[in-house]
């Protein structure tokens, strides 16, 4: 029997030791949450995506709710890298939680120069959001295909010595290949995944619900899809997988870890329950105590798959 409080919640992910496996998803975290929780309780903090240039973001409306989730097209409003280094970075120095900086750029070279510039004291890791459109590839996201993912990851790897996490898109039929390409090019971890490309139309006006016409679906509605992608990626790579998609409870986090995640990111759930991450951390601990699991890291890829003839398993050949 494990005594209460004996559970080891720490995990090692992509070159970082985290006190627990729970962190925010980029874009759903900002200073305002310090009114709700102490940031030193989190495994890591992940910033909103930083770009080199000033970006104003997309036209309104930027969010539309759906059953079990929401579609957003915020458009990465950014005050630019200089503002981040001057204002945001010093703010997080008050906390001892690893600061992961999410970055985006329209070209592989742009990614690399941003990563290089942000290889600063106080920044624990870079999360490259390669789900954004690549202007050199006709607007297709870098993470849509292994080749472009490999190229941008390699340039990033050459540009920074910081732990490099690469955030993949779920909007590809080749997520495991893309993960393998990122690993081959030097990524220390992959974040699986981002929002799923989606659309909603208002039946009163016949107009798209979002100013950007299309957006990304997040929330519980996408969880089973991303759990599957985490599983596919965890089978394909040796580096840690960070699960991200519709996690709102400790049970969801456990499921992601069983599928292969070493750590998890929580996003949309925070919009409904601002202290959701704290509840998930507490719940993970309680789960481990209940199931007599001494280390939360023991859950990673703990999915039990009975011996079977591979040919009988439909998912082997199923293209997502």
């Amino acid at each position: 029997m494990t005594a209460i409080g004996e559970v080891d919640l720490s995990v090692t992910v992509g070159g970082l030791r985290l006190r627990n496996p729970v962190m925010p998803a980029s874009g759903t975290f900002a200073e305002g949450l310090d009114k709700v929780m102490h940031f030193n309780r989190l495994g890591a903090v992940v910033t909103k995506t930083i770009t080199r240039e000033l970006r104003s973001g997309n036209p309104l409306p930027r969010v539309v709710e759906q059953p079990g989730g929401l579609i957003n097209a915020i458009g990465i409003p950014s005050k630019g890298v200089a503002h981040f280094v001057k204002k945001t970075l010093p703010y997080y120095a008050a906390y001892d939680t690893p600061l992961v900086v999410s970055i985006s750029a329209p070209t592989a070279e742009g990614f690399a120069s941003l990563a290089s510039e942000l290889s600063l004291p106080g920044i624990a890791a870079i999360e490259a959001n390669i789900s954004c459109p690549n202007i050199e590839e006709d607007g297709k996201a870098f993470a849509m295909r292994a080749e472009s993912a490999e190229k941008v990851t390699r340039e990033l790897r050459n540009a920074t010595k910081l732990p490099l996490w690469v955030k993949l898109t779920p909007n590809t039929g080749e997520v495991a290949e893309v993960a393998r390409a990122a690993e081959g090019a030097g990524a220390d971890a992959v974040v699986v995944a981002n929002t799923i490309l989606a659309m909603a139309i208002d039946l009163k006006t016949f107009k798209p619900c979002l100013g950007n016409l299309m957006g990304g679906l997040s929330g519980p509605a996408i969880k089973p899809i991303i759990v599957r992608q985490v599983f596919q990626c965890a089978r394909a790579v040796g580096i840690p997988v960070i699960g991200c998609g519709g996690i709102s409870s400790a049970e969801d986090a456990v499921e992601y870890m069983l599928a292969g995640a070493t750590a998890v990111q929580v996003g949309t759930a925070t919009f409904l329950q601002p202290a959701a991450m704290i509840a998930i951390i507490e719940g993970l601990k309680a789960f481990c105590i209940r199931r007599e699991i001494p280390r939360v890291s023991d859950l990673t890829f703990g999915v039990v798959i009975e011996e079977a003839d591979e040919a009988d398993l439909a998912w082997v050949d199923a293209s997502p």
Binding site: G27, G32, M37, H38, L60, I74, Y95, Q273, P274
Partner: protein, 292 residues
């Protein structure tokens, strides 16, 4: 026994956080989500409902102009997913109560409409930046329309407690839809009701009323919510007479606490257009910087 309409348990960060790893003073939450007990949820008129809840100390300390994000009950017909922002209509720190005045307009408010005394509702707050009262003022004017009246009502109470007199101009489509006039009067405010049906609510007439108040020395600052047209009138007069002003703005929100940048609006700050989050930098803004 009241039906259980609550969707999810409120989660509050435990107060006993170990701060030993930081040099800052002991951390305490200043925003929390909690399950509040519904004390009443009555029809005020055909459109508006008045929700009163028993809450924790933190929520009951809300300031005029601040808001809460309510997790609206899901019903068989409606599945509101996101919380709905609701400005605070009244607060009583002695009794640990907060009040909301809302109009039933969509999936979220239809869900709220089903709440009965004895139910519980998940409220998150207090959120945002509220009104600021300058104690040097003796007379201020509050101009509200529709649900904007709810936002201004607690200001009238705070103004009275600070010894500042309020003239409230309450605008609605017709007299039966004027809400809160008695509440404003009970807070010591003079009330001027203007309505569309009586053709008194147009910008020209409201401007006439405001000009008289200004010339009588009874308008040192404007507080407004709920009407772009009336806001523009006040901006013009504030500029002409060098008066201060604050406006509480509305916008569709998702997180309510500055994370998602869903609720941005443009503001004119010294000639430069600046994007701000209504939930975080507002919802109360300088009148002169607001754009309709």
């Amino acid at each position: 026994m009241a039906i259980e309409l609550v969707r999810a348990a409120g989660v509050t960060a435990p107060p006993d956080i170990d701060d030993s790893q930081t040099s800052t003073s002991p951390w305490r939450p200043s925003v929390a989500a909690e399950l509040a007990d519904v004390l009443g949820n009555e029809k005020v008129n055909l459109e508006y409902r008045h929700l009163r809840v028993r809450c924790g100390e933190l929520s009951a300390k809300a300031k005029p102009g601040q808001f809460f994000q309510l997790l609206c009950p899901q019903t068989p017909g409606d599945q509101p997913y996101l919380r709905r922002p609701m400005s605070v209509y009244g607060m009583d720190p002695a009794k640990n109560e907060v009040e909301f005045l809302y109009k039933v307009t969509g999936a979220g408010t239809r869900g709220l409409d089903r709440l009965e005394a004895g139910d519980r509702v998940d409220i998150m707050g207090p959120l945002g930046v509220g009104f600021t009262l300058n104690l040097a003022w003796r007379h201020v004017v509050a101009v509200g329309r529709g649900a904007g009246l709810a936002t201004l009502a607690p200001l009238a109470k705070a103004a009275r407690e600070a010894g500042v007199h309020v003239t409230a101009i309450l605008s609605a489509r017709r007299p039966s839809l004027i809400v809160s006039d008695e509440l404003f009067r009970s807070h010591g405010a003079d009330v001027v009701a203007v309505t569309d049906s009586e053709s008194t609510s147009g910008p020209a007439n409201v401007e006439r009323i405001l000009r008289r108040l200004i010339s009588d020395g009874r308008c040192e600052a404007f507080f407004t919510c709920g009407s772009s047209r009336l806001m523009r009138v006040q901006q013009r007069l504030a500029k002409e007479f060098g008066l201060a002003g604050q406006v509480a703005m509305e916008q569709q929100m998702a997180c309510g606490i500055g994370l998602c940048y869903c609720c941005v609006r443009d503001f004119n700050v010294d000639g430069e257009i600046v994007s701000r989050r209504v939930c975080w930098e507002g919802p109360v803004f300088d009148l002169m910087e607001a754009l309709p």
